[in-house]
Symmetry: C2
Subunit: 259 residues, 2 copies
């Protein structure tokens, strides 16, 4: 589809402000990613604390070696989330860089569309003048008719005819002016609408690229976390009851030989 | 392998205390799971807050509908982690229930092994007495020899012979007593060591079951989170630049018809 200026000639304003909203969205996307990074950082820190708890549990008894498995796995989870934080921070930098480029591009566009803004203001003032001259023309024609009907003096009728003629000329002039300006306005507005649409499409494509980068990062880390879980399950399976009983007997000298 | 009591007859103490450490491990495992649940709860709460941020971002401009995709996905992530919290809390209840059963079983075992504790104390005191009577026997024999060599009176030698005879009898008595008690001790201790080992193996199996339940829960939620990520990626792919441009044009009346 194509964007075209709106019915009440306010299309320019709508499209121009939308360009500014584009920059606001970029800022908000950076905010969103930053907030997510902050959440992941807090999670990672808590996991590191949890790993420390696991290593502070009792080193006595047969179960003690199991805490090492918990500790290692929990540390790895903490590290995955910290990795996510680092990658999100890199992404935030990219978003800010894009936001800065956006501002520059928007300033340039503002200059480029200044001619269109003039054409908009032009057609708006001529539309007003045209309306006024049309009303004046109608009034003067009615006045001339009334005088004729009521049998006014020829002098009065002549005077009204001159006024009516003048109003007709003014009206015709504005009709021609409007036609000329309208063509200029339409051409410029169509070009500018296309320019705004191009800017908007480029902006949305860029935003979608950033979001894709965000999703890919999240997906990568999710896979890493899955591997940590698998490793934990395998390590637990390898920590057999038999091996724990044996380890304990070896450490305590309790076993093997009769007293 | 089999657990057998240690060399210095302290095997009983080591094994008996290990049974107590078993209960401590159960308490610590509950603590670990609780700390993890607390972390997940905080994470879930932060995600809910992040979802709210997404819905508070500007509703102006072409990008606005994208925030709904972020909001929905972030809410679902919050809900996955809250689900994890609920399931971990259920698991903690099970661990506590097991801990209570463990205490009861340990009290029962304490009564059952009281005979072995007596046998341990018995052999320890008889070992001491045997050692003492052996030393006394050696001393009395040497005294008898010394008097003979130094040419003491027959009365003195007779007196020493009586003492030496008495010490020999006492020593022999303790050697016999020790032999009798040792056999009782060995039998009881072997039985008790087996009982402690059975308790320990059952305990470790139970702990491993709890950990398996923990891993399965974490794995389930990890899969759910993966689905939320996939859904986010699909929803973003469906939110095309074209559709965003069209939605905006429709909402603003900017487009389709010429001015």
């Amino acid at each position: 589809m194509k964007w075209l200026p709106g019915e009440r000639n306010n299309g320019f304003d709508v499209l121009y402000h939308n360009m500014k909203h584009g920059h606001l969205s970029t800022k908000e996307l950076a905010d969103f990613i930053r907030e997510r990074a902050t959440i992941e950082e807090a999670y990672s820190r808590s996991m590191t604390k949890l790993a420390k708890s696991a290593s502070n549990y009792t080193q006595l008894g047969t179960f003690a070696p199991v805490w090492d498995v918990f500790k290692t796995s929990t540390e790895k989870l903490a590290s995955c989330h910290l990795d996510l934080v680092r990658r999100l921070q890199e992404l935030i930098k990219e978003v800010h860089k894009y936001g800065d480029e956006q501002i520059k591009a928007y300033k340039k566009t503002k200059e480029e569309v200044s001619g269109t803004l003039e054409a908009v203001q032009n057609i708006q003032s001529i539309t007003q003048a045209l309306q006024k001259s049309k009303e004046n023309y109608n009034a003067k024609c009615l006045e001339q008719e009334r005088l004729k009907k009521e049998g006014a003096t020829p002098r009065e009728i002549d005077k009204a005819t001159v006024k009516s003629k003048k109003a007709t000329d003014t009206y015709k002039l504005y009709v021609e002016k409007y036609a000329a300006v309208k063509s200029d306005f339409e051409q410029k507005m169509t070009e500018t609408a296309q320019k705004f649409q191009d800017i908007e499409e480029t902006h949305l494509l860029h935003m979608k690229e950033i979001i894709e980068s965000f999703s890919n990062t999240i997906k990568d880390i999710h896979l890493q976390i899955g591997e940590v879980h698998e490793e934990f399950i395998n390590n637990m399976a390898n920590t057999t009851v038999e091996s724990l009983i044996q380890k304990f007997a070896e450490s305590k000298g309790t076993g093997k030989e009769r007293p």
